[in-house]
């Protein structure tokens, strides 16, 4: 069994076993209809692309036992509720809503379809037939930071980021702590784009960071613009979401990627077996949800070995990117030495750690 992390919000989640209803015998021969809702087009790389890889894995593994449909580019507003409802209404028994903004619509629709299993990515509300899943992206970020810290010559790292929500801050801070663990002089500069997907703005932000001396960039946005910009200006970049090496073969050192395959396959299996239950999963490298993409050969063997070793320590639970002492960049101690930040504290992160320059936009 996969360990299920205990969000405080799980108070919403009654552990009612939905499986009974799902197992209703008659459907045994019919394929299980699965629907996915994507916030952007699938494209060649990025958030949605990773979910779509997992969808393909479902089709490959379960063949004609399942019938999988997806709807892409569904805006996170009133429209998403209709799409989710339509999927439920047209007989889809397992629905993956893959963006945070689908949370309230999913909860609303789920009330009307007690026999449908809803899976919502990255949110915090659950219900008896709504489970949530998320990945510990920050673990990959920490390792990426180690690579960046080793590789930089200017000791200035650049970070193109979308919105100052906890998930993004966890990434920035873990990246910074990773970099400074091997290079205490490393500093991180952040530029906010206020958009998850805006290649023009992302590129501009990347260019600005480069002109401010950053020689390793990374990003928490959906396009490949940052990697491309780095490639053009002959600096390094670390991709996010997907392996972005083909968009900047020289620049791309590695990427912190998500892999939902394990989760989607297991969830599908549970629904097929009539054993699906609501819950909250926050999996990391150990669970295979977060991975580093293959390293660029310019990364030294020594660094690669170090990253491997640290990865092993994270998996073994010996290393935590937020093990104390953690200080914010105003000098305030957030986690004392000897303690480790709790999941709850991470979920509420609203500061930069030491080593990040500037102030958070409020």
């Amino acid at each position: 069994m996969r360990p299920r992390s205990s969000f405080r919000v799980v108070r919403f989640a009654a552990a009612a076993a939905l499986g009974l209803a799902l197992a209703a015998g008659a459907q045994a021969q019919e394929p299980l209809k699965i629907g996915l809702v994507y916030v952007s087009p699938v494209g060649d790389a990025g958030w949605t692309y990773q979910h779509d890889l997992a969808r393909k894995a479902i089709e490959q593994k379960f063949g004609n036992k399942v019938q999988v449909k997806y709807v892409e580019s569904v805006a996170e507003g009133a429209d998403s509720e209709r799409v989710i409802r339509e999927l439920a209404q047209s007989g889809h028994k397992l629905i993956f809503a893959t963006s945070f903004g689908y949370m309230n619509p999913t909860i609303k629709v789920a009330k009307g379809f007690p026999n449908v299993a809803f899976e919502h990515a990255t949110g915090y509300k659950t219900d008896r037939n709504v489970a949530i899943y998320n990945a510990r992206f920050y673990e990959g970020r920490y390792l990426a930071g180690v690579v960046a810290g080793k590789q930089t010559r200017s000791n200035v790292l650049g970070y193109v980021a979308a919105f100052p929500i906890p998930e993004v801050l966890q990434g920035i801070n873990a990246f910074t702590r990773g970099a400074r663990s091997v290079n205490p002089k490393a500093e991180v500069k952040v530029i906010w784009t206020n958009s998850w997907y805006d290649p023009g703005k992302e590129r501009e932000a990347a260019m600005t960071l480069i002109s401010q001396g950053a020689d390793v960039l990374t990003h928490h946005t959906d396009s490949t613009a940052t990697v491309k910009a780095a490639d053009e200006k002959a600096v390094y970049a670390i991709g996010y979401h997907s392996d972005m090496s083909k968009f900047g073969p020289k620049a791309h050192l590695t990427a912190s990627t998500h892999d939902w395959t394990n989760y989607y396959l297991e969830t599908t299996q549970r629904v097929l077996d009539g054993k699906w239950k609501s819950g909250a999963v926050w999996g990391g490298i150990k669970d295979g949800y977060v991975k580093l993409a293959p390293m660029n050969p310019v990364v030294s063997k020594e660094t690669q070995d170090l990253v491997k070793k640290l990865e092993g320590e994270i998996v073994a639970g010996k290393l935590h990117p937020y093990a104390g002492p953690v200080k914010d960049n105003a000098g305030k101690e957030r986690v004392p030495a000897g303690k480790t930040m709790t999941d709850d504290e991470m979920q509420k992160m609203d500061y930069y750690v030491e080593g990040v320059q500037g102030k958070l936009p409020k």
């Binding site: 709807v71 996170e76 507003g77 009133a78 209404q89 919105f163 100052p164 929500i165 206020n194």
Partner: protein, 356 residues
Amino acid sequence: MLRLELRPAPSAAASLATPLVAIALTLVSGAILFAALGRDPAEGFRAFFVEPSSSAYGLAELMLKAGPLMLIGTGLAIGYRANVWNIGAEGQLVLGAIAGTGVALAFDESDSLLVLPGMFLAGALAGAAWAAIPAWLRTRFNANEILTSLMLVYIAQLLLSWLVHGPWRDPQGFNFPQSKLFAEAALLAPWFEGLRVTNAFLIAIAGVAIGWLVIERSFLGFRLRVSGEAPDAARYAGFDAKRAVWVGMLAGGLAAGIAGVAEVAGPVGQLTPNVSPGYGFAAIIAAFVGRLRPIGIVFASLLIALLYLGGESAQIALNLPAAITGVFQGMLLIYLLAADVLIRYRVRFGHRRARA
């Protein structure tokens, strides 16, 4: 060869026939498109046009989606007829949503029946105020309102972003950028359990009716039209060009502001970073496909709404990628607009053939 000849007067017959021509062309090209992708064209059309409109839920969704389009489209048309180009309805909608949310959050504890009217009033005023900026810049500095109103869309969106990331962020919401869910008194009640259409649709219809009176039946509408079609004549007749700008911009802003409140108080139920699925821009298309006449805009809005819903159901039913549904939607709109050329021009064959 083919050439176009100006008709002495716009043809009434052609203006009835062109939508049919456009639909016929869309069906033919759509059939080719679906067939080329290996899908049954009949299935494709069924998914696009029949599926979304063949259930009570589908019809309610159609109204939910078409309501804001027709309301904003009519508001914009008042300006467009006077050659006042408000491209920023999206921003005015956002301001309406923000102001409506402000009222909703301020009276969070109240269960007064006045909360909703207060939200709509605040939203309408905020939308109009946002539209007043380009109107003022135009009348005072002769700044092009196409640019200024469009720029203000981005400012409005950043303002919205700041609010939901900052002061209005739900304190219980794990720092995610959205306001708390509105209290019951700040929400429009659906007409029927399980459907999402609310009185906002009636407000939209009322708005269209008022727009119709202004455009087609009032002296004000006549003056606006003259200002647009013959500015010199309007000046000669003593019609105030500045007033046309003000009326034109404010009408669009007012309508968009109301539509913004209807979104947050209706299907969304809170303020989120993306309250509008682009209604402010789609309404521009609705206005032009409807030939800037309120009745036409109603039908155009229903059609555009149907295409949206059809696009989703085509993805679900046929596994078509979103881009293909976008191509199909664009095709219909382009044919509709392009066929309009036949109203003013007639097609002639052959007379001035180039020598081989």
